[in-house]
Symmetry: C2
Subunit: 332 residues, 2 copies
DNA sequence: TTGTAAGCGTTATCAA
DNA sequence: TTGATAACGCTTACAA
């Protein structure tokens, strides 16, 4: 079965390729008779236009690149799903890649996307590849940074406020009487991690608390590192009575670690940046800083579509404010 | 900044476009001198070949379509990640779409992928669009069905054995003394759901148990339907002492439902097809049929790549055997 | 209202 | 070892 082209349809319908194109794209004048005939041929032959050829001719790929750090993190997947729906609804296709928090993979992904002439890019960056990103933006491709900024790279940005809620959470912990607070942070190359870290430390200092180095663990946002962190913290001579975890996956790991050590899950007060959607199932003393992945995705998609569809050019920063929620209070 | 083409590079390097192409693709003879000069120009201009033009010319899109039903289900996302890595490593790009278990969306996705001339398709189908799929396969595009078969559509298939482990699980429940067993099933249009349903009912019948209609709930594989199911089941005059849930999301919902009703999570014995990775955190009487999404993804990718790269044409069915595990026993 | 033909950025054939 | 050039399937002036 040979590949069907517009010429085959033209021959079959007894008109020129231009007419077929006009009918299929609703551009230019076509008489109703011819129109019907063309559509009939298209249907009969089961013809489907070649999007690649069309892209080449129009010099528009109609595709958007998206690079997120972790395909297995529900937070990012919610963002991904939201964006995907919005873009597909507008006739774009999404080239979705996974950087795994690894700047090298990110670079490869970026290369691949550029070769595919994506018309826009959505990125939750690893913190690397700044030069590449600057070039990309300089070349006029709309770039929307998602969840994280990349210092030194100025682009549209949709993220959550990392400092305010963390400060609030720390004040809560101090006011609840905690004097030994453990901290599990992400890689400081990632802006969200850095901001959460700085805000937490500062808030505690301002509350007059010294944060001993041994209470601070540098994780990598993975479940495994959360587990390792809590196991180390709980073995301290004076274990923390409360712990701040900088993302959802590490919080998950934290609880797995406690469980493995046979420590009650409600023995430690926990503040997590990012929710655990199964937390209602076990006894805990967990507060979460609730993120809004749908809003992030939605805003990012809107900003990008504005640039793509309406040539909007002003730069936009949208900061979404996560809400500090004491889940343990909710379940009473 | 105008778009750079191979002509610009040719001019800059003082050679023909053919030579540039040869250097960049490592095809044909090029003298070492010219080679170096070309590469220098490419680098200096920061030229990146246009994958779209290349695709058109070579009549190869180098892209693969994948349609999965649920971007927020960790089972499918694990499959997705595995496949994505394998394909990207071979120079393909993945067009990844989400059918949301909806045949209409699936059809749209299929259309979009065909327009983009994907060279292969990976599909966990909704059960619909059979005619389309048959045409697609007939046209010579390799299709690998993942997780589910589509009755009436013959294609390569990588799935898990749904019957054996379910039978084993049911025998276990009966031998544990349960006489009132609830069942939460998925949509029977989906092969996995149907197979699990049939196997469960048959096993119970063969064990001499009548399954009352009121103990059977038809869910849709979503968390929400699992919750509704358990809430209905537990309100029966004689509530079940054990429940079989046909997928991970519904099991999640089941526990959320119990929790909401104030019923102890370990009051009901549960068998779940598909794991809950947080189950160690709460007290339960849960057994799971452990799936192997990495194996599924890996096998699917291998089969597809065999056809793509080595023109392998024999049809292949790989059945992976999930393992029945009593998690409650593990945590003792 | 329709057709002709140029051209999008590559690759591949053929000739030099 | 290199260069001209046709062609991939489509859209779009321009002509008719």
């Amino acid at each position: 079965m040979r590949k069907l082209t517009i010429k085959d349809v033209a021959k079959h319908a007894g008109v020129s390729t231009a007419t077929i194109s006009r009918v299929l794209n609703g551009s230019g004048y076509v008489s109703e008779d011819v129109r019907r005939q063309v559509l009939a041929s298209v249907k009969e032959l089961n013809y489907r236009p070649n999007a690649i050829a069309r892209s080449l001719k129009q010099e528009k790929s109609r595709s958007i690149g998206m690079i997120l750090p972790d395909m297995s993190n529900p937070y990012f997947m919610t963002i991904a799903r939201t964006i995907q729906q919005r873009l597909v609804a507008e006739g774009y296709r999404l080239l979705f890649m996974d950087s795994d928090e690894n700047p090298d993979k990110e670079r490869e992904a970026l290369d691949a996307l550029l070769s595919n002439r994506v018309e826009g890019l959505l990125l939750a960056g690893t913190g690397g590849n700044k030069e590449q990103l600057r070039q990309l933006i300089g070349s006029g491709i709309p770039v929307v940074l998602v969840d994280r900024c990349v210092p030194g790279v100025s682009a549209d940005l949709v993220m959550e406020d990392n400092r305010g809620p963390v400060r609030q959470a720390m004040e809560y912990l101090v006011s609840a009487g905690h004097r030994h607070i453990g901290m599990i942070h992400g890689p400081k190359t990632i802006s969200t991690a850095l901001e959460r870290y700085e805000a937490a430390v500062r808030a505690l200092q301002e509350a007059g608390l010294q944060v001993g180095e041994e209470y601070v663990y540098s994780g990598d946002f993975s479940r495994k590192s959360g587990k390792q962190a809590i196991q180390k913290l709980m073995k301290l001579p004076v274990p923390p009575t409360a712990v701040f975890s900088a993302n959802n996956e590490m919080t998950f790991g934290l609880y797995l670690g406690l469980q493995e050590m046979g420590i009650g899950l409600d023995e430690v007060e926990v503040v997590s940046f990012g929710d655990l959607d199964f937390s209602s199932l076990f006894k805990h003393r967990l507060s979460v800083i609730m993120q809004h992945p749908e809003s992030i995705g939605d805003s990012a998609a809107s900003i990008l579509l504005d640039k793509l569809l309406h040539q909007k050019s002003a730069m936009e920063n949208r900061i979404i404010i996560p809400k500090f929620v004491q889940k343990n209070k909710l379940s009473l």
